[in-house]
Symmetry: D2
Subunit: 339 residues, 4 copies
């Protein structure tokens, strides 16, 4: 068993990490950290559990620690659900102290030697870990993309060999993406908020790195551009994306791509049976409430492939788009014997 | 005073017509029609009033009639909130019987001699009424576009002289657009439905006619294409649109277009003070709950003009996008002495 | 294995039956019936699956039959999700034909020789089956109560030995209780509807039978009265009840009752580990979104026990309050060797 | 004109005050205060306007001041939307400085010489102002009740001569009652929260004072008790109450009370035409979305009078239940020449 911890374990993404790790076949959840205020309490007292999945009793007795390097330096790896303003320095220090850091924070995503990984899309980018080690770091940092970016690149992945250069995407994003207190009910109920801070920029830069090519020790960005318009809608979980890509091929060929897509590997504990669920006939799917729990939240659903080329992609933003993404990255690293 | 009636007065759009007409300075609301089941009842007994505006007591005592040509043939004009399957034949017969028909139904929108009008955008298209008369019709039909189309062309209108050929639009449409019973709560609550029957096709064809040029007796379609992706979201009223248009000019110039836009006429009773409300500084507007009631529901709000060119447009779908559109068309016709 | 069928398998409660039965350790799901329109199709084609749990593939290939006596007369037992207007005659005929009927419909609930059962509350009422058999019926009918009634009697059960005579209950009921099409989004979004047809009457009569005493072949009604006020709120699943009961004892004693309550039996496949989840310290629980999935939807949650005596009860209305109730009744009957 | 100010003008209730006062026929809105952070800005820059009514442009240019006694001591009266922790001391100091304070805060509601007034219910309680003056205070404080309490006492008022001693009430309260940031979307969406801090206690004490009798300089509390269960539901505006009162008379007599009720005075600017809207025939009303705007938000709606005695009451919580209540109290005081 590999000893792991979660940094920032009481927030929305932190709770998802605990849910996914409390009963994990490879990882032994040993340490939970939070703010000073929670340190010293048992996790069940420190956390205000807000997931609709039952509270994992086994984690309840863990005594929460303050978020410091010392508290986690003896672990094999940590998962970071820290807010971006804290994550930058702390993750660097923890990686320097010899621990593998799998982070959901945005701080290091665009660092040149930090892999930004979606397992099915660019597993080879884990090779950048060696670059970090070559410059003397004992541990390493691996990041996963922004939640909307993950859904988009998962959906573009089956058609990446169709050449496209111009991607447009309009998102309809769930409330949980902003954390438990991030959106007030008065803001979003009976409403659409056509703005999510810095989200469009992330969607326009991260995919180019993820779908880029690892060339020696450097990522060569992919050769398309993304123009995003991001919107919050009154949905609890599940980001829905309307995507345009200027592929030349007919929709029927593209449908084949989605229909025939298989992940390039199998057997990771958090990996769903189907990475992509393709709605071939249903004209009104995917829908977040009905489809977000497919593959325990790790499957991305794709439908309505029409000329244009237009299609709809949807995925669970705090599982596939955040905590689950990070856990599966760690599983991938373990399976590749990177640790 | 001009004597008017409403066809299909008990449905969602019908109720909006009654609300807008019950106290109108030019129009005397005389006749309300509905299905046979309601005929003979007073309107207050026949209708299940679902608008959050108070019931217009003055209309309550009108005895509802069955929807036939005979019932309305002595009126000066009628507003049609009929479903498309009924509207086609009935509206033709009523127009032939000498009545001016202002219709929200889709049946005749694309007929070559029927104007498809948004007052601020193509008032001159009312000239097609003469074409109808020239072929011997005593009355005439004027239609208004689909609700999403109206919001889009209102928002494209201030920049129509910037040349663009490729428009993409992702809509986030309100529940009321489907009528009172059109969407069940189990379908849309905590959900997005990425499909609205025939909506995309309407958005891709109607704007070309509306923004086309009346050339003698024929409309020359506008020279751009539209690619639409339409989605239902959990919002009561107000359609939000994310629009891309391939204009060459810088966003700042385009902002000037919106900022300086003024309607080409003024003084119609239903016309708002500002046809377009432009959000210059706010980065998270327009929002349907906060902005749909601007100009009593007749103002279209525009914001988030960014490079791309991308921007957000939002308007009240059952007022500006349906009943109010039709009433303002009739006012325009009256002001142009078409009746 | 016991061969079973579901009557009305395509509706909201029917789909829950299929979900619960498709993988059941004791029951072999063999027959699914629906309206004539669906007959002859495979279940996966006939049903518009709307649950957020994944579609049970094993049931997908079953060919749906029309709902007749002939189609089910060779089964051991059937579960009925029929609407009340159909259920009355059909269930009688099926029971007469020798089949055990476990019905969620209201038609036979108050029949003198039909047990109205909640397993933890009145398992002995299954004795009425003998009364049905004594008058020559080959099969039998067992009913479960209305969804709100179940939550209430489950919550009153731990304190039934505290004498009370006056129960008041205000319900906040979920949308799914009305079926998939029962409530339109325009009716309930941003709204409360303070009326649910015939619900108050059910809540005022059914508990007296359920908590009554089986005296020979007759139920002696319980000696308290219920006054109910029923309201629909914008919640997908989970009925919340504010209950007053005029018990004399202090809240602390009553809390002990809830804290110490254990079901009178164990081991039924659908039975949850805890029939009652008691919130001892949390002052803002139970909440439907967070607590409805406890015990896979079969646990009723109780909290906020205050003087008055007032408390809050909440349960999943289509699982514990409908399909799960019926399935657990059948399991109870099997365990008592009634079949 | 009477010069007035609003304390705490940027919050949810503060914005309602500004909306109601910006165009008031008797009151000249001169001063707006907020936290130090906003002081010095114009109101249009300081406020994040979240009401769906349009922003009152006339108030936009007022320069916001810090909330101190000095800033308002030259006004005739102020309206207080301060949070309870600030209101206590500040309101006392302002009243002592000679200003009439009409407060929506709870701090002074139960003070023995402070009137707790709902105009239609206990206008004579304004007589307590003399008690304040008799002890040397130059100004005075008048309070209005908690939002749920107002709806309840407005609904009990028409039947106050029917003797009842035991009132039970279950509330379904709107999100706006907690202010713009008070309830996060993750807390309340698809959910009911069966707890609102200190609300039940307010509902159990305030009505006894309001419906009590002013006996010389002392209020004799009314002789009934209230048992409340308070719940938050996903509704933007409008509190719905299910009320039981142990009146002896038949529901038909009680219906007459509601049907025939008229306010004891008329002509106040904020007073609605009908203080009570009684739903005589409709079995599913009142409903918050459809009825909250009756009488511009000042009418309380009552319906579903049934034996028990049970009935439903509903009113707009931030207008009739907060800012409008306070403004109408001030109008009443002016009309009684108290200032």
């Amino acid at each position: 068993m590999i000893n792991v911890g979660v940094l920032g374990a009481t927030g929305a993404v932190g709770q998802r990490f605990v849910q996914l790790l409390s009963d994990h076949p490879w990882f032994n959840l040993q340490t939970l950290t939070a703010s000073e205020r929670s340190a010293g309490k048992s996790y069940c007292d420190a956390v205000n559990w807000r997931l609709d999945e039952p509270f994992p009793e086994s984690a309840g007795e863990i005594i929460v620690k303050d978020t410091t390097v010392d508290c986690v330096k003896d672990l094999d790896l940590v998962f970071s659900a820290l807010p971006a303003d804290l994550a930058g320095g702390l993750e660097t220090a923890i990686a320097d102290a010899g621990v593998g850091v799998f982070s959901n924070a945005s701080s290091h995503r665009m660092d040149v030697d930090v892999p930004l990984v979606v397992p099915e899309v660019n597993p080879d980018h884990l090779g950048l870990i060696d670059v970090q080690r070559d410059r003397g770091r004992d541990g390493f940092i691996v990041t996963n993309p922004n939640c909307s970016t993950i859904v988009m690149v998962m959906a573009l992945n089956p058609i990446r060999n169709r050449s496209f250069s111009d991607v447009r995407v309009a998102t309809m994003q769930a409330i949980s993406g902003a954390g438990f207190q991030g959106v007030s009910a008065m803001e979003i109920y009976d409403n659409v908020v056509p703005y999510i801070g810095s989200e469009e920029k992330k969607m326009e830069t991260e995919p180019l790195k993820i779908m880029g090519r690892l060339d020696g020790s450097v990522i060569q960005n992919a050769g398309f551009s993304v123009s995003a318009s991001c919107h919050r809608v009154p949905v609890i979980d599940g980001h829905t994306l309307a995507i345009w890509a200027d592929v030349k091929e007919e929709p029927d060929l593209i449908k084949d791509d989605f229909r025939n897509y298989r992940a390039p590997f199998s057997g990771l504990p958090t990996q769903p049976t189907k990475s992509i669920h393709f709605f071939d006939k249903e004209q009104d799917r995917p829908q977040p409430r009905l489809d977000r729990r497919r593959g325990d939240g790790m499957t991305v659903s794709v439908g309505r492939v029409r000329e244009g080329l237009r299609f709809i992609a949807m995925g669970h933003n705090t599982i596939r788009g955040a905590a689950g993404a990070s856990v599966m990255n760690a599983e991938l690293a373990v399976s590749k014997k990177v640790l």
